[in-house]
Amino acid sequence: MKVTKIFDKNHQWFMFGRDPEKPESIIDTNQYMIVAGERALLMDPGGIEVFAPMLGAILHHARADQVTDLFASHQDPDIISSLGLWDQALPEAKLHAPWIWEGFIRHFGMNNIEYVGIPDEGSTIDLGSLTLELIPAHYLHASGNYHVYDPIGKVLMSGDVGAALETPEGPIYVDDFEEHTSRMKMFHQRWMPSNRAKNDWISRVRNLDIEYMAPQHGRVFKGDDVTRFLDWFEELEVGTAVANNN
């Protein structure tokens, strides 16, 4: 599991991904962790297949009991199917996840961890020395969906928005935006169902001060590439499976 520190000041952002031991048949995913003093938040911790490499990678940077909070942007298996294993590794932790998915996510196995349902309008996660904002991203792509915004580090963990289908050898950061759009186009057109939801999200996210936009698949956007992405996404028509079938 490759680990990249994407922000490092009073608190740190770690990105985990590009796992060379990952079975080829499963989609590559990025997992993120914020370490803020004695507390750590693990975001979209991934599927069962990446649990062991993830846990191993985390223990190089944080103690197991330091990971007090988990976040799941939505209910998909590549996001949170490892929950049953985290439940045994971190029994005292809290899982922040969309309220509408609680009954579904619990199917992954959760006997110890506490489920904290995020309301539709969003919420915050207080890590003591750092407060994170949970930004609604409903229908992008799941019907209950959130992103994590760090106003101090100016980092937006954007879930499936900004995602690209990437090889394990792919670079961590977007280096040529125009070239990168070819890896994102189909993903967004097919997985994002609603132009209305897309535009609503863009208008709210444009008001945030973002230096890094970190998606759950593919590469991280830095600086001006964040605005380039928002402009590109605004122009893109999504929900094309319906349009193509009519």
């Binding site: 062991a52 223990l59 190089h60 197991a64 330091q66 045994q88 590794a89 029994p91």
Partner: protein, 210 residues
């Protein structure tokens, strides 16, 4: 595939087989209960002549209720064993993954912080194993009780044939009830015996990884 995983898979199949065997028993037991209620009506219609048959129809009704309740309890126990097996498998799976993390990340600064979780899972697996063994013992007792009830049912079927022979008027109808009871008791005994074999298999698998 690890030995415990394979054992657990075999255990789950064996426990599901017990539930499947006993599902058919439930239908038969309901049939006998209905026949016993019909027999009660027949003996009531027989007036004084049917008086000798009344305790027997009461007993048939009672034994069919015992079979219905017994099968339900046995199924609950088999389900409990299945659930323990699933939990045991999940704990074992986590334990193996934790071991793999420790093996591959010996140089990790915080690898020692995983120790409390490992201990917790070990204790959970020990508790699950004890719980499984106790529940298995309970299930053996329940199956033995059911076997005894069916022996009693066969005995009462024989007695009822003698009694019905004294009540000529209703003999044919009550003979049918006695035969149904005997057939049901034989069928249920067979299914209990099969379930016993499945449970014995579970016991052997449990002993293997004790």
């Amino acid at each position: 595939m690890t030995t415990l995983t394979k054992n657990n898979e075999d255990k789950l199949v064996a426990l599901a087989s017990i539930a499947a065997e006993l599902h058919t028993v439930m239908n038969v037991a309901y049939g006998v209960s209905l026949a016993a209620k019909n027999a009660k009506v027949i003996s009531a219609q027989a007036g004084e002549k049917g008086l000798g048959f009344q305790p027997i129809t009461d007993f048939i009704d009672e034994i069919s209720q015992l079979a219905i309740n017994g099968v339900s309890t046995i199924n609950d126990n088999a389900l409990k064993l299945s659930k323990i097996s699933v939990h045991e498998q999940r704990s074992y799976d986590a334990y193996q993954r934790f071991q793999s993390v420790i093996k591959k990340n010996k140089d990790a600064a915080y690898i020692g912080s995983l120790a409390p979780s490992m201990v917790r899972i070990e204790n959970h697996m020990i508790d699950s194993f004890k719980d499984f063994k106790n529940s298995m013992k309970d299930l053996f007792v329940l199956l033995e009780d059911m076997d005894k009830h069916m022996l009693s049912a066969r005995a009462i079927a024989s007695v009822s044939r003698v009694v019905t022979s004294d009540t000529q008027e209703f003999r044919s109808k009550l003979d049918v009830v006695a035969n149904d009871l005997d057939d049901a008791a034989i069928f249920i005994k067979e299914k209990v015996s099969d379930s016993y074999e499945h449970l014995d298999h579970v016991k052997n698998l449990t002993r293997k990884h004790a």
